[in-house]
Amino acid sequence: MISTTNALILGITAVYLLLVVAVGAAASRITGDSREDFLMASRSFGTVVLLFALFATNMTSVVMIGAPGLAYSTGVSAYGFFVSLFAFLFPVFLMTFGYRIWIVGKEFGHITPGQIFNHRWESDNLGLLVMAIFTIWTIPYILVGVQGGGIVFESLTDGLIPYWLGALITIIVVGMYVYPGGMRGTGWTNTFQGMVFMAVLFAFFLYVPFRIGGFGAATDAVAQIDGGVFLNREGLPPYETRMYFSQGIIVALGAFMFPHLILRYMTARSFTTLKQTSVVYPVAVLLVWVPTVLLGFWGIAQIPNLENPDFILPELVFEFFPTWAIGLALAGILAAMMSSIDGQVLTLSTFFGEDVLRKFWDDVTDAKVVWYTRIFLIVIFVLAYIGALLTSDTVVDTATFAFAGYGLLFVPMAAAFYWRSSTKASIYAGVIYGFVGIWAFEYGPLPPEVAGFHPFVPILVTQILLMAVVALVTQPPSEDRIDEYEECFEDVW
């Protein structure tokens, strides 16, 4: 028997999910069967849609669950540790490096990073390697999003919707707008869902401390614990200077190299759009991350001794919100989850269509690429669902590992745009070295830190040195190809 409480929560959630599907359906009506339109929305995103397409995809699964969880474990420095440097460097990269990515997408019709690698260094298979590595780093990130959907459904319906069913609902709803709407479907729903989750988050931020007795009372309660240990970085190993620096660099480089974001840089309508998005980006990050970190921070005193810190936000909602609002909260948290999963899944499908089908199947038509891309979407959804039933990692741990993996593709990709004498062999060396290196530190015999730095930093430095040495002794691509790129970048940052 369903209680009135659960019926209300589920009713509000169902209405929200139907709205998301309706927005996706509206996008799909103007999405054609051409590959350029389905995969890239005809490179037509304006500032608002591009901002939310980047922001909602980039932030959400980590921000709604991971950020409060990190603050709950380690205190208020979670903001500076994870996101403040990223919030500044990401837009700097977008206005410079991202602009060059956008230009070569326009100039040569590239859609995927693999196509850029193959074209820039006149290679047949370098792009396939890059695609495989991007895919390997993306899969666990998708799983975390699906897993998060299952967790919040089970947690906020008090077990009425079990984990397996919550994860399944999440996957099906995302599938219903990504399958027909492609990139435009994700862009439009990201805009809608980004606004919803920001509104819900602000409601959390104002209402939870109101119930505790005000902002001052909420902070004071945490400040009393162990002499204010959660107010600063002292005594917390991740927040020591070198590790703090490492994390800032990992997130800044890694998040910029998210494959689903690289595709979206190329969907911008113009450079002006990219610039406007860049300027607004740190403000958007600040508006979202500060509330989530403070909520996790305040939760330390309100709900102590949680076994899994990732549950702190749902637990706060359940503890302090009236029943009707829990449905809205669930909708807001699901908005966060779904707007990450959609872009990631569409990107992997795009890679399959562009880097495998079009690369190795000579007479494939655009319509067939789109059709097979859609089939591949379904395959990934099924695999993601199975994976979500099996995985048990926390959001921040998974995110940091994946960020480090993406971040070690930063220099090889930047070489395409800034390093004239880079060679195909040097890029192979850099890509493989970075991939093997980070796995060796994570699971191999190498130590978990080097002179206080996260292994990412020494791997990044030695990766650059290795690439420089290999570039000196191997053959660059033809002068014609280098000149083609150089001409694109005249008077361009």
Binding site: V76, S84, M95, F215, T219, S270, V285
Partner: protein, 85 residues
């Protein structure tokens, strides 16, 4: 490719902007302003550590606005094509 890019500035304005970006990477470390072990709470509820990080991003926002205006104009063929859609 690198020369003339943002990362290899060729004018004093661009050099100053590049220096500001590099300075921000250093200023990310809150211990430079004595906040590593601070238990100060501002306005009765905001820990100084996160207040600093927020201010860091506000300054970053200012630098990005300057970048916005100093960035070279996009080549006409790209910008006009995009705006016409």
């Amino acid at each position: 490719m690198l020369k003339g890019s943002f990362w290899y500035p060729n004018s004093w304005k661009h050099a100053a902007l590049f220096a500001a970006v590099c300075a921000m990477v250093v200023l990310h470390q809150s211990e430079l302003v004595g906040l590593y072990d601070s238990t100060t709470i501002l306005f009765g509820w905001l820990p100084a550590q996160i207040a600093y990080d927020m201010a860091f991003n506000v300054v970053g926002f200012g630098i990005l606005i300057v970048m916005y205006y100093l960035a070279p104009t996009a080549p006409e063929r790209y910008e006009s094509e995009g705006e016409s859609q």
